[in-house]
């Protein structure tokens, strides 16, 4: 293993003078970079910006719902705000969150490559993302859009006078950034693995991204087509979705959910990849049942394409279609259950420590389990009738998306922060932030399950008096949650200058990314590594260290 660059341990380490951050200077060296690591940083900054915009909108929603009346803002304003919250959070934060930042940064390094297969397309995808984001902001500032992020026809085609086409165009463009990212990952994982890096030596993070990439590449074009159809319907009235012209308004929902259900897995699968890495590292054990976890990602991706109509059980689709989609939904729940138990058993006989990434990962496991199990309530046709279109479904997908994905994102950001920046985040305060986030999250969203059970419909600017107490709990929780999200923003920026120096491998993790310097060189590896060790091979790591001690020390 002499090909892997080994530097002295953490105690004596200094941030290496030559790395991808210092390699070139000036704003143009960033804006025209082809380096996957720099593009990942550009993405990280942009998605954080949009996350806080989406978060501010969420704050306004919760503030309005503090009282039963629609008193903070007019109901039209409320409608525009929750629409924008959905659009920004889903298309500009959740979809690119882990793949475009951590995935972009780590996938080439994890498989021993010097960059992604198409560095320029990678940069283009960031520009497309920015264009989509700018258009979204433009649509918001110039009057907003009030259709809900689901753009249901004929509301979006015939009844809304707001910026539907601009927002649609923004999503269309941002969609291509996602397609390009997915395409890049698929080609990279197929063609650029280092010698010895077989498919089953790849970290599970790569498997999860591979599955998510398939969904991005095959699903997103359907969304693009749907947006084009809506735009044509609005501008020239082609009538595909218009019943008076022989069109079918439900067709829109079939097309929309054909993308938007797999999109849920686009969002959650990369998060699952993060959790596999973190749990393995902090219990110092290989992931229990590596193959099962790897294939469960692929299974989720495959089944994920065939469950879309479970969003439409009450829409008058055929009862027999409902049977099929309900059954398939139950099947897609199984691989997620497998993952949860495999992670739990990864801890068994491990040697566990509880650094921040691990705390977030535990949070993920709890919240994602709740989110997944409540998904079964909604996939079961008979109970879906009562629960759908209420706060139950709002709570369910926030448990999966925020409780799951955002926890995973924060876990990953903390875990790889030393690799990204060469410095450690402050441990104590970030552990506190993880706990605050977990508490705040449950306070915010658990009452919403109860509200949904009681029948409170979603997207209501005003609601009957009897739902107020639970809504007050939820809003109170949201303020705690807000603190939980602001804290990392502050201390992570602080750590860029004042954080402890990380060294190559502060966690003693086995991935290839931890065997190179932090922050890495622009070319990642001085020579392409030859992989002989297994994945999550902690014994190999121990031997490496002994070897180093005898030869260097």
């Amino acid at each position: 293993m002499s090909t892997i660059l080994n530097l002295p341990d953490q105690a004596t380490a200094r941030v290496p003078k030559r790395n991808y951050l210092t390699n070139e200077n000036g704003i143009m060296s960033w804006l025209l970079t082809g380096d996957h690591k720099r593009i990942a940083i550009l993405y990280l900054i942009s998605i954080t910006f949009f996350f806080f915009i989406g978060g501010a909108l969420a704050g306004l929603i919760r503030l309005e719902l503090l009282t039963p009346q629609s008193d903070l803002m007019a109901s039209d304003t409320y409608n525009k705000i929750f629409t924008m919250h959905g659009v920004v959070m889903i298309f500009l934060f959740l979809v690119p969150s882990v793949p475009a930042t951590l995935g972009n940064f780590l996938i080439p390094i994890m498989i021993g490559a010097k960059d992604l297969a198409f560095p320029k397309i990678n940069l283009l995808s960031w520009y497309l993302y920015l264009a989509g984001g700018a258009l979204t902001l433009g649509a918001m500032i110039s009057g907003g859009v009030d259709t809900g992020w689901t753009f249901t026809t004929p509301m979006s085609t015939h009844f809304s006078n707001t910026n539907v086409i601009t927002t649609g165009l923004a999503i269309f463009i941002a969609g291509f950034s996602s397609i390009f990212t997915g395409l890049n990952f698929i080609v990279t994982l197929h063609r650029m693995r280092a010698p010895g890096m077989t498919w089953f030596k790849m970290p599970l993070f790569c498997w999860a991204h591979y599955a998510a990439s398939i969904l991005m590449v095959l699903g997103t074009p359907v969304l693009a087509i749907t947006i084009v159809l809506v735009a044509l319907e609005r501008t020239v009235g082609i009538g595909v979705f218009d019943p008076t012209k022989g069109g079918d308004p439900i067709l829109f929902q079939h097309l929309f959910w054909f993308y938007s259900h797999p999109a849920v897995y686009i969002m959650i699968l990369p998060g699952m990849g993060v959790i596999s890495e973190v749990i393995s590292t902090f219990s110092r054990k290989r992931v229990f049942g590596y193959t099962a976890v790897a294939f469960s990602s692929v299974a989720i991706a495959v089944f994920g394409f065939f469950v879309w109509a479970h969003h439409m059980f009450i829409m008058g689709v055929s009862n027999y279609a409902v049977l099929v989609f309900s059954l398939l939904t139950m099947l897609v729940a199984v691989p997620s259950a497998i993952k949860i138990f495999n992670w739990a058993f990864t801890l068994y006989k491990g040697s566990i420590t509880f650094e921040t990434p691990m705390l977030y990962a535990f949070g993920f496991m709890g919240l994602f389990t709740i989110g997944g199990l409540t998904g079964v309530f909604l996939g079961t046709a008979g109970t879906d009738i009562h629960l759908t279109e209420t706060y139950f479904i709002v709570a369910h997908f926030h448990f999966v998306m925020v409780g799951g994905m955002l926890m995973a994102f924060l876990s990953g950001i903390h875990f790889w922060w030393p690799k990204l920046t060469g410095r450690m985040y402050p441990e104590k305060i970030s552990q506190l932030a993880a706990v605050v986030t977990f508490i705040g999250f449950n306070f915010t969203f658990f009452p919403q399950f109860l509200l949904g059970m009681l029948g409170m419909p979603r997207r209501y600017a005003a609601y009957p008096q009897e739902f107020q107490v639970l809504n007050v709990f939820s809003t109170a929780g949201a303020t705690i949650l807000g603190v939980g999200y602001l804290l990392p923003m502050i201390y992570l920026v602080w750590s860029l200058k004042y954080g402890q120096i990380a060294g190559n491998n502060p966690w003693q993790a086995t991935g290839l990314e931890w065997q190179i310097q932090s922050p890495p060189l622009t070319e990642n590896f001085t020579t392409i590594p030859i992989v002989t060790q297994d994945v999550y091979d902690y014994e190999w790591l121990e031997r490496q260290k002994e070897h180093e001690v005898t030869h260097v020390g």
Binding site: G289, Y290, F313, A344, G455
Partner: protein, 355 residues
């Protein structure tokens, strides 16, 4: 730091009346709740299991206690266990839930039909006896009620949490749902599908009454014209009877007893005549031509409101003979002062009747 007494009383009141499910006011509600309870229990067991495993392993195998990890590949037996047990449980839920689903969306044949039209932003209910309501629905207990829903603009959704039922009102298409109320009272009616500006104001009351109260309400709210009677009026004023009169030389098929029958279209495909078919055949006749007839019927798209269509459909549903249709025709024909260049419909009728 003392809590304000107002907030305190508010909290106490809330905790006293705290409920996690709405009242069970329909025949199906306890059945849905039974499944909800089952799923909640399974979820709690699952969540506790995951929680216990993570907590126990975190305590037993933390670094201080267990400095050297033991590497384990996995265990096919264990993995099979946690594949098969969740799968089995999910399949039980699937079967149970599907049975309920079919129950909720398959109305019994003896159900009383009430039409509901959704529009931005109100619910209009049309009772067969001609009672009209806006944002409320009066129904008797212990009688299966079927709702036939349609929207005249965007998607809406008719939700009655106390009954555990909900159905989307879709533009251009009838959907149905049924329930049997068990407990008199007033319950929430919500529009749960986001439908624009005043979505959250598209709410109302479901008033469940004893049969006696319901009769009183029916008597006190009647408009004097039942849906079918209103339909007959429309049928006549639109001159439908000029062709659909059941006479041997009629240019359109007879509509008496057509509801519920099976027709063959000119395309050769058989259709069952139900509410949806009747509505479509009025709005878009050229796509619904009965075999043996010429495609001469004009479209009525945009000329009849959803309520008018409901009246027509209700009229045709209850049409057992063409006697009154022919009577109406004959009366028109006998009018001596009918001018030759009268309304187009008059001319057409004469053309049919005179040699």
């Amino acid at each position: 730091m003392g809590l304000s007494p107002v907030i305190w009383q508010f909290l106490v009141k809330w905790m006293v009346s705290f409920a996690i499910i709405p009242p069970e006011a329909s025949r199906i509600a306890p059945q849905v709740d039974a499944l909800l309870v089952f799923m909640t229990l399974v979820s709690l067991v699952g969540l506790t299991l995951v929680g216990l495993l993570v907590t126990a392993f975190s305590i037993l195998y933390r670094r201080d206690r267990n400095p050297v990890p033991t590497q384990i590949e996995g265990s096919t037996l264990l993995e099979a266990t946690w594949t098969i047990i969740p799968l089995g449980l999910f399949l039980i839920m699937f079967v149970w839930g599907s049975v309920l689903y079919f129950r909720i969306y398959t109305p019994p044949p003896n159900a009383m039909n009430i039409y509901v039209v959704g529009k931005q932003w109100m619910w209009k209910a049309e009772h067969p006896g001609g009672q009209h309501e806006i944002n409320s629905l009066h129904i008797p207990i212990d009688k299966p009620i079927q709702l036939t829903l349609i929207s005249q603009d965007v998607f809406h959704s008719f939700s009655i949490p106390a009954f555990r039922v909900k159905r989307e009102a879709i533009p251009g298409r009838y959907t149905t749902v049924w329930f049997e109320a068990t407990t008199p009272g007033t319950y929430h009616l919500f529009c749960t599908q986001y439908c624009g500006t005043a979505h959250s104001a598209m709410i109302g009351d479901i008033v469940v009454q004893t049969p006696e109260d319901y009769k009183m309400w029916l008597a006190g709210s009647t408009s004097g014209v039942s849906l079918a009677q209103n339909g007959e009026r429309l049928f006549s004023s639109l001159s439908c009877g000029a062709c659909h009169n059941g006479q041997p030389d009629a240019r359109g098929p007879s509509l008496a007893n057509v509801y519920g029958s099976k027709l063959t279209l000119t395309t050769g495909s058989p259709v069952l005549v139900d509410e949806a078919y009747l509505r479509q055949a009025i709005l878009n006749p050229s796509a619904h031509i009965t075999q043996g007839y010429a495609p001469i019927m004009p479209t009525y798209q945009g000329q009849i409101s959803e309520e008018g269509l409901i009246s027509l459909v209700e009229y045709i549903k209850n049409l057992n003979s063409n006697y009154r249709v022919q009577q109406t025709l004959n009366t028109t024909e006998l009018l001596p002062e009918q001018p030759d260049k009268g309304a187009a419909k008059g001319a057409a009728m004469q053309g049919v009747a005179k040699p």
